[in-house]
C-alpha cells in the first residue's frame, strides 16, 4: 500500500509497461512526472532527457521509439499544442509513443495550476489532416497507473501515438493505492523476416506484427510524407488512399476492444449521466444522492475510459430508450456534441459545465437531473 499522487502513479505505470525513454519539458501541472522519471530512469538503465521545448521533446521521443525504445513524454495544454505536429508525424510514420497531457485551463497560458478537461477535442483533432486518435482518461490515482500502462500497450499494438488525458485533479490528488506486482505488458514481437523480404508497412490487418527499428539492419525509411508500403514517398492517388485507409483501419478494426465504457444501470434508465475523468466521481456521487431523494427515478451512469475513439456504436445500444443525457464536463461542452450524435434527436442532452478551474460538485450535476 502506498500513498501516491496521480503523477507518481503514472510514472509507475509507465515503468511497469516497459517505458525506457522519456523526453520532456517542464510544465505545470505535469512536471512531477518528469521529475520522477529523472529519478527513476537513469538508475534502471533508461534514458531521461530534458529537451529545449515540447517540440523537441516529441521529436526525440519519436526518434527513440523508432530506434526500439518504448518512449513517452508528459506535458500540459500549451505544450500539447506545441506537440501536435509531432503527433501527426507519429501517426503518419506509425511510431508508437505515449503523450501524457495533464489538462489545465486554456486557451493560451490559461490556468496553469487549476484543473480542466479542456483538451478533449485537441486530442482528437489537434494535428492537421485525417488521422486516427486514441485518448484514455483516468478518474483516480489507481487508474493513472493502470491507464498509463494501457496507453503504452495500445500505442505499441496499433503503432500510433496515444494520449493519456489526465487532469490537474487526478495528477495532484493523493490516494492510497495497492500497485500490482505484475501488469499486462505488450512486448514488441521479435522480427524474423529476412531483410530482403521486409516491407515496413506490409500488414494491413495486424498492426501489431513485428516492426523493424533503426539499427537492426533493415535500413528502413521513415517519413512524414504520404508513402508506399516500403516507406518511400509517393504521389500515386491509389497508394495515398491505401495509406489513409490503413491509418483509419487501426481504429475501425479494433473497435471491439477500443470502445472502453463502464455502464451502470443504464438498462431501463430514464436519465443517464455521461462522464469521464475525475468528474466521473462527482457524477457517481450525484447519482447516488439523487436516487436516494427520488426513488421513483431511474438514473444510470456511463463513464468513458477512452474518449477517443468515441464509442458511438456501443452507446447506441447502451442508451436505447433513455430520455435524457446529462453530460458534466470541465469545459464548455466538448464531448456533449459527440453524445448528441450518438442518440436520437428527441433525447434531451444537457451539459453541466464549469471552466473556472473548479471541479464540478455532485450538487451541480444533481440540479441537471
Amino acid at each position: 500500500m502506498e500513498l501516491l499522487s496521480g503523477n507518481e502513479a503514472c510514472v509507475q505505470g509507465a515503468l511497469k509497461a516497459g517505458v525506457t525513454f522519456f523526453a520532456g519539458y517542464p510544465i505545470t501541472p505535469s512536471t512531477e512526472i518528469a521529475e520522477e522519471m529523472a529519478e527513476e530512469l537513469p538508475r534502471r538503465g533508461g534514458l531521461f532527457v530534458q529537451m529545449e521545448d515540447e517540440i523537441a521533446s516529441i521529436c526525440a521521443m519519436v526518434g527513440a521509439s523508432a530506434s526500439g525504445a518504448k518512449s513517452m513524454t508528459a506535458t500540459s495544454g500549451p505544450g500539447y499544442s506545441l506537440m501536435q505536429e509531432g503527433i501527426g508525424y507519429a501517426c503518419m510514420a506509425e511510431v508508437p509513443c505515449v503523450i501524457v497531457n495533464v489538462m489545465r485551463g486554456g486557451p493560451a497560458t490559461g490556468l496553469p495550476t487549476r484543473s480542466a478537461q479542456a483538451d478533449i477535442m485537441q486530442a482528437r483533432w489537434g494535428t492537421h489532416g485525417d488521422h486516427p486518435a486514441v485518448a484514455i482518461v483516468p478518474k483516480n490515482v489507481m487508474e493513472c497507473f493502470e491507464m498509463m500502462a494501457l496507453a503504452v500497450n495500445v500505442s505499441e499494438r496499433l503503432r500510433m501515438p496515444v494520449s493519456l488525458l489526465m487532469d490537474e485533479i487526478v495528477a495532484h490528488m493523493r490516494e492510497i493505492v495497492n500497485l500490482p506486482e505484475k501488469a499486462d505488458v505488450w512486448q514488441r514481437p521479435k522480427l524474423t523476416t529476412p531483410v530482403d523480404n521486409y516491407v515496413h508497412f506490409a500488414d494491413d490487418t495486424n498492426f501489431d506484427s513485428a516492426l523493424a527499428s533503426f539499427g537492426e539492419g533493415y535500413r528502413i525509411h521513415l517519413t512524414g510524407l504520404t508513402h508506399r508500403p516500403d516507406g518511400f514517398p509517393t504521389n500515386d492517388p491509389k497508394v495515398i488512399a491505401w495509406k489513409m485507409d490503413r491509418l483509419a483501419r487501426k481504429i475501425t478494426l479494433n473497435r471491439s476492444w477500443l470502445y472502453d465504457v463502464v455502464a451502470t444501470d443504464t438498462k431501463g434508465a430514464d436519465t443517464v449521466i455521461c462522464s469521464y475523468g475525475s468528474i466521473a466521481r462527482s457524477a457517481q456521487e450525484a447519482r447516488f444522492a439523487f436516487m436516494a431523494q427520488h426513488p421513483e427515478r431511474r438514473v444510470g451512469h456511463i463513464r468513458l475510459r477512452m474518449v477517443w475513439p468515441f464509442p458511438q456504436f456501443k452507446l447506441v445500444e447502451l442508451l436505447r430508450g433513455v430520455r435524457k443525457l446529462v453530460v458534466p464536463e470541465m469545459n464548455q461542452g466538448q464531448l456533449k456534441h459527440e453524445f448528441e450524435r450518438a442518440v436520437s434527436p428527441d433525447v434531451e442532452v444537457v451539459g453541466v459545465n464549469r471552466v473556472d478551474g473548479e471541479m464540478l460538485t455532485p450538487e451541480e450535476i444533481m440540479e441537471a437531473l
Binding site: F21, A23, E39, P42, R43, G45, L47, V49, M51, E52, D53, I55, A56, S57, C59, A60, M61, V62, G63, A64, S65, A66, S67, G68, A69, S71, E85, G86, Y89, F214, G215, E216, G217, Y218, R219, I220, H221, L222, T223, G224, L225, F232, P233
Partner: protein, 271 residues
Amino acid sequence: MDYLRLDDRFPHILCPGCGIGTVMSAMIRAFIELKIDPNKLCVVSGIGCSSRVPGYLDCDTFHTLHGRAIPSASGVKLAKPEMEVVVMGGDGDMLAIGGNHFIHAARRNLKLTTIVVNNYNYGMTGGQFSPTTPQGARAKTAPCGNAERGFDVCELAKGAGAVFVARTTAYHVQQLKNLIKQAIQKKGFAVVEAIAQCPTLYGRMNRLGSAVKMLEAMRDGSIPVTSVKKPEDAVGKIVTGVLWNVDAPEYTEVYQGTMAKAQARQQENQK
C-alpha cells in the same frame, strides 16, 4: 555504390546544377573511406531540398518534420548510442525553424554530425529569403533586397558550444569529404557548413550566372582559414577549413556517469 538506394529511387528531385548532390556525394565518400557500417548508420533530415537526400541513401533514414531533424536524431542517438547518426539539412530548416534545436544540441554536446547545406535561400518553396541570405540580396520574399542580416552558421555553432566547426563549399569537394570525415570522427556535436549553389532560384534572382559560374565564384571568393593572417584577409571571403576544434565531455558518456550516480544514490537510500 553501397550507401545508395539504386533500385527505384532515382532520378532524384534536385534541379540541374544544384550543389546538394555534390554534398551528398562527399558525404557518401566519407562513409566509404571511414568504412561505416550502413546497418549502424542513420541519416536524419528535416524538410527542404537537402532534406530529401536521406531518401536516396541505403542505410536507416529518417525524414522528419521541418526543422526537427536534430531533436529527432537526438532521440535515435540517445536510444542507440552505438549508431552513427548524421543530420543533413538546409539553412532554413536548421537555422530558422530549427534554430533553437541547433543551438541546444551544440550546448548538449551529443555526438551528432550535422551538415548544414547553405544555399542562402529556401529552395523547396521557391526561393524565399532564409536566415543566411545576405543583407541586400534578392529573394522571392525580398524583391527589393533582404532587409535582414544573415547568420554566420559557424560562429553560431561555435558560440553555442559545438566542439567541431568547419566550412567549405561545393567547389572544394575533396576538402568537403575530409571535413565530413573529421566531423564524423569527432566525439561530440560537430558542424560542417557546406555552401552550395542554387542556380535555379538564388542564383537567378541575384544574377549570379550558371552553376559553373557560381562554383567559380566560390573558388575565387574563398580563403583557407590557415591563410588568414589578419582579420582584413577574411573580409568578404568564405573562410574554409576547420574553424574550431575543442574537446568537451560528450553527452552519452556523461549520461553513463549519471546512471552510475543514480544507482549509487538508490543504494544509499535503501541503507
